[in-house]
């Protein structure tokens, strides 16, 4: 392949860790009003895409993202790493989207870029559904490989070492394909100052739901197949029981484990 067109899906998420996240009390959706940053787990996909485009001897990485309020801060980070351009879908109608509506939007945006390969992270660091990569693949009619820890492109095929609990499977699929990568796949580069300066001039195409030819009723809260009815904090862990060994501690432990029916 002389020119490789790679699409990398990136998510822009609230800064900070989950302890600082806030949920809207009515909709129970994550509040995403402030500045959003590039999800760290997506930097691996961006790096993988850049490396594959370089190895192909030519090519470029197009970012695809869906975010509220025309947010581009996280996209700029990935553009500074070396991605060539970005497609951002930002539309108030998308608030409250579930995983499948998100996948529909992303798939429609990806289609416009006509990719040879689509790369995603395994899951986002704020939503954690982990279902979007395969949903995108299904919607695009492409084969998908998840948990990729090594990716090699040979002509019109991609070979992936797919992480499993015991080791890895070697999987080969024809291009175009969707692969989701793990955090171990490559070491993401740091954006250089030159990259940061260049990122400002790179095109970010902003689209609305209508631009993608999607029905507004099929996405966002309107199209969501799920509803969050309530959110309750996880139960605080109870204090453990301290067993003082007076020669019979083992018996107390055995009794305890028997009570739990573990032994």
């Amino acid at each position: 392949m002389d020119f490789m067109n790679v699409v990398v899906c990136v998510k822009q998420i609230p800064d900070g860790d989950q302890s600082t996240y806030k949920l809207d009390p009515t909709s129970h959706n994550l509040v995403r009003d402030g500045k959003l940053i590039l999800d760290d787990s997506d930097s691996y996909g961006v790096e993988m895409g850049l490396q594959l485009a370089e190895q192909a001897g030519g090519g470029e990485v197009t970012l695809v993202s869906m975010a509220p309020n025309s947010e581009t801060s996280g996209l700029r980070t990935a553009l500074a790493m070396g991605a060539a351009r970005a497609i951002l879908v930002s539309d108030a109608a998308l608030a409250g989207s579930d995983a499948l509506s998100t996948a529909k939007v992303l798939a429609a945006a990806i289609k416009r870029a006509g990719p040879d390969l689509v790369i995603t992270a395994t899951e986002s660091s704020d939503g954690y559904t982990g279902t979007i990569p395969v949903q995108i693949a299904e919607l695009l009619g492409m084969p998908s490989v998840t948990f990729s820890k090594k990716v090699t492109v040979n002509g019109d095929k991609v070979t992936v070492e797919r992480q499993t609990e015991e080791g890895y499977d070697e999987v080969e699929v024809p291009l175009p394909a969707v692969i989701s990568v793990t955090a171990g796949v490559v070491e993401p580069r740091y954006p250089s100052f030159k990259g940061i300066m260049a990122a400002k001039g790179k095109p970010v195409e902003e689209l609305k739901v209508a631009d993608l030819g999607l029905d507004a009723a099929s996405v966002g809260a309107a199209g969501a197949g799920q509803e969050i009815t309530s959110v309750v904090p996880a139960e605080a862990r109870k204090a453990g029981e301290i067993v003082v060994d007076e020669g019979d501690a083992y018996q107390q432990i055995i009794n305890y484990l028997e009570q739990l029916k573990v032994i």
Binding site: R76, Y190, P191, F193, I196, M197
Partner: protein
């Protein structure tokens, strides 16, 4: 008129901050304490060069990005925040601009920008009465030494290691053997760079201590709930935040003059103001941090000392607060 940092400056600062957090965190700093010239301490040096930090003040023709002093001071305060145990200020903010303005007589600019060579600076400024020879940090790893207004190669100096209160300094007395190359005085660049690092150190000391006093309980409440603690920390924060704009302003003036410091005048006065405020503020932050940590602050087993001791080293470097206040006074005709 917009007077603040632009998007690029903030993006550069955040990029450097993220790199330092990942690659030069506390573990690396602690390794530098026991082995300041070792591979763990220096692992981030090439990463910084790849990002463009060493070349930040170098022209594009030398592989740099020529982003100017305002950006440089932001980056240096990030280095201060993590107490980076490497001669970044000496190489990127003193060596590089001196060589640029001297026309790179030794032909080393490219290797500095690429992270392959290291400059250190032996500063005796403001300590002339001490009778000690000038001392340079990172002496075991430096390839080039600025002494007075000259640059010397490693073979043209004699180094005598000396103990520093901050073991990460890797300090040595430097004596020149040869003639060296005239590159100009490191004073203005050094004082401004040290001031920027001190702002970062001061901010880190305040924020670490605020976290600590929220967490540490005594008499059934966090010690930070006591006014005697709150007020001290508020004072420390205020002094650091008052020093910071003086540093950015001096950097901005440096940029207006294209890095050409010329004779003592507006730039030197602004640099002195910045250094005097930053030295005082960082020392106050260090003293307050130590007080508010109680005995925890004293021990080598707890990381606070790494920030405290760096402040003690940098506060007098390139002129103490007292020295710089006097220089402003002389410049204004207040001293004989």
């Amino acid at each position: 008129m917009f007077f603040g940092f632009d998007e690029d400056q903030i993006a550069v600062k955040e990029a450097v901050g993220a790199l330092l957090d990942k690659r030069a965190g506390l573990t690396v700093l602690q390794q530098a304490w026991s082995d300041p010239a070792g591979p763990a301490a220096w692992a981030v040096w090439p990463d910084l060069a790849d990002m463009g930090v060493q070349g930040l003040l170098a022209p594009e023709s030398a592989g740099g990005s020529d982003l100017g002093w305002v950006t440089m001071t932001l980056v240096l305060s990030e280095a201060g925040r993590v107490a980076l145990p490497l001669p970044l200020a000496e190489t990127a903010a003193i060596g590089v601009p001196l060589l640029v303005s001297a026309g790179d007589p030794a032909g080393v600019l490219g290797s500095l920008v690429a992270g392959r060579a290291v400059v250190t600076v032996a500063s005796g400024i403001g300590e002339a009465d001490s009778g000690e020879r000038p001392r340079a940090p990172a002496a075991s790893r430096a390839d080039w030494f600025v002494l007075g207004d000259r640059l010397y190669g490693r073979d043209d100096v004699v180094l005598r290691p000396v103990a520093s209160v901050d073991a990460t300094r890797d300090l040595a007395e430097v004596e020149a053997l040869g003639e060296g190359l005239v590159v100009g005085s490191p004073l203005e660049f050094g004082a401004l760079a040290a001031a920027a690092v001190l702002v970062g150190l001061g901010r880190a000391l305040v924020s670490t201590t605020v976290d600590y006093v929220k967490d540490r309980h005594q008499f059934g409440v966090p010690v930070g709930s006591f006014q005697a603690v709150k007020h001290q920390l508020a004072d420390a924060a205020m002094h650091v935040e008052f020093a910071a704009p003086a540093v950015w302003a001096a950097a901005w003036e440096m940029d207006q003059r294209g890095g050409d410091v010329g004779n003592i005048g507006e730039v030197a006065r602004s640099v002195s103001l910045a250094k005097a405020l930053a030295s005082d503020a960082a020392e106050r932050a260090a003293r307050t941090a130590l007080q508010c940590h109680g005995a925890m602050g004293y021990t080598d087993d707890y990381h606070l000392h790494l920030w405290l001791k760096r402040v003690w080293c940098l506060s007098p470097a390139f002129g103490s607060a007292r020295w710089h206040r006097r220089r402003v006074g002389v410049d204004m005709g207040l001293h004989g």
